[in-house]
Amino acid sequence: MALYAMMLYYPADEYWTTPGQIGFSEEYTEFGKAAADVIRGGKALHGPETATTITVVGGPGGDVVTTDGPYAEAKEVLGGFYLIEADDLDEATRWAAQIPAAWRGKVEVRPVFEMGTLPA
């Protein structure tokens, strides 16, 4: 078994907290029930307008630069994530395709890096 991070992206103007969005919670409740056995974690995020970007300039202990806003201005923004356990990428893909963000925006699937290992 392997752990996959599923990152949920929405169009910036159809973010899940945007007023007038319909059906979000029903769709996610349904997914949560269907995937209950394989969900190992996950959270929804406040919108990109609440984001703060931090940079330390000049190495550890350097100046902390704080910027209002997300790291990158984009048409599609990160809105949350799941950690899902699956046998392989095909199984992970089947779960990803059931996450409402897959039709409301996009889902990026990435294998979780197990601490104590190095990439091949």
């Binding site: 392989d88 990428l89 294998p111 890096f113 290992t117 190095l118 990439p119 091949a120």
Partner: protein, 412 residues
């Protein structure tokens, strides 16, 4: 045959089978590939001394397996933080002494090859990586040869292959034949990869050659392999037919000086009759099995058959060819097909009809200008035809294309 020649022969014929089986046994494409490579080096060192073993494939399989287990055992013995991600597989390496020299049954090897093909063509890999992996693992081409085929530096191709293998390992792209339910969405990628290799061989997008025999040959080999593994699939048979019917014309596609010869001017007695016969037979089988619904490769194979079975350029069935192009265009817009259709309309209905069809097409490539030059020549408008050929030469991507167009310009 010298031991070196026997080894090369064994690797060419059996290499991919040894690899495909080993991947399943050790669970890692990267480890299996390195192990097969090591086994070949070991054979190169020992066969000239000890003589060629009775069963060269068994020798390579056992040696490669032993090398793979050595690697896995070393990985397991290293501190956890050094162990490569995705290679956390068998720690239970068997003792080589207990190893049984037992060859996999033929059916298991075929399944392994099919698995490997679908792993290489997994949709989570980009097309260029799929093609490179298929050429490396299934066609057995070395990295420098693949790099040359795609005209990228060797280091770039090596990096591309390493990244693909890393993704297969880290993201756990499965080594598995898709279920029947998934097959319809997965098979097209496999066929597209094989077709792409064939197309690059038939009409190289860059470089000085009119044809790349090595790529055409590998594509045909892969198509035969897929057809052998999935004998009932009409689109697989159609692709094989398409490749056979197209490649049959290769002996006539260049003149003694290595310059390209257009289909209209080719010496048809030099075409490979056996390949045409086989292509026609495969296509007939595809038609029988497709239940009246022709897929894209079947339509293209019918077009190739029209040309390859026509006794001469003048006696080509242009009406059928236009009809087939119309069918291909119902599958979606395709500028190259629209252009070929316009040319075929010209052969059926005359140059004025060709001109009208060409002008309806918005894509202006060198082939479009060349086709327009032909139509204008047919109408007797030589000055306009010249201008079109000049435009075509400017847009032509390869030196042989430019030479051919320059010859036509000089002949006007």
């Amino acid at each position: 045959m010298t031991p070196e020649e026997r080894l090369a022969e064994t690797v060419r014929v059996e290499g991919r089978r040894v690899l495909a089986t080993l991947i399943r046994t050790v669970g890692s494409l990267a480890v299996a590939e390195d192990a097969v490579q090591d086994a070949v080096l070991a054979a190169l060192a020992s066969w000239p001394r000890t003589g060629v073993p009775d069963d060269p494939r068994a020798w390579l399989t056992v040696t490669a397996r032993r090398k793979a287990y050595d690697v896995l055992r070393r990985e397991a013995a290293r501190p956890a933080k050094e162990v490569a991600a995705g290679q956390d597989l068998p720690v239970l390496a068997p003792d080589p002494a207990e190893e049984v020299v037992e060859m996999e049954p033929e059916s298991a090897v075929r399944d392994d090859l099919l698995r490997l093909l679908f792993t290489c063509c997994h949709p989570a890999l980009r097309r260029e990586a799929q093609v490179a992996l298929a050429l490396r693992t299934l066609a057995g081409l070395e990295v420098p040869a693949i790099a040359r085929a795609f005209l990228v530096p060797e280091a770039t191709m090596a990096k591309r292959l390493v990244r693909a293998r890393q993704k297969i390992a880290a993201a756990r792209i499965p080594y598995r034949v898709p279920s029947d339910a998934e097959l319809p969405e997965r098979l097209p990628a496999v066929l597209a990869v094989v077709h792409l290799i064939a197309t690059e061989g038939h009409a190289p997008s860059t470089g000085d050659g009119v044809v790349r025999v090595d790529l055409e040959t590998e594509a045909l080999r892969l198509a035969r392999l897929v057809a052998e593994l999935m004998p009932g699939e009409p689109e697989v048979l159609s692709l094989l037919a398409l490749l056979l019917l197209t490649q049959a014309r290769r002996p006539a596609r260049t003149d003694a000086g290595g310059r390209p010869v257009l289909l209209a001017d080719q010496d048809r007695s030099r075409w490979d009759r056996a390949a045409i016969r086989e292509g026609v037979a495969r296509l007939a089988e595809a038609v029988r099995r497709s239940g009246g619904v022709a897929g894209p490769y079947q339509l293209q194979a019918h077009l190739a058959a029209c040309h390859s079975t026509a006794p001469s350029w003048a006696d080509t069935d242009w009406d059928r060819i236009v009809g087939l192009y119309d069918l291909v265009l119902t599958l979606g817009p395709n500028p190259a097909v629209a252009l070929n259709r316009a040319v075929a309309v010209g052969h059926r209905d005359g140059p004025a009809a060709a001109l009208a069809a060409l002008d309806a097409d918005p894509i202006r490539t060198h082939l479009w200008h060349a086709a327009r030059a032909d139509a204008l020549t047919g109408l007797g408008w030589t000055a306009d035809a010249r201008a079109e050929l000049v435009a075509a030469i400017e847009l032509a991507p390869t030196a042989p294309d430019r030479r051919l167009l320059a010859d036509r310009l000089a002949g006007l």
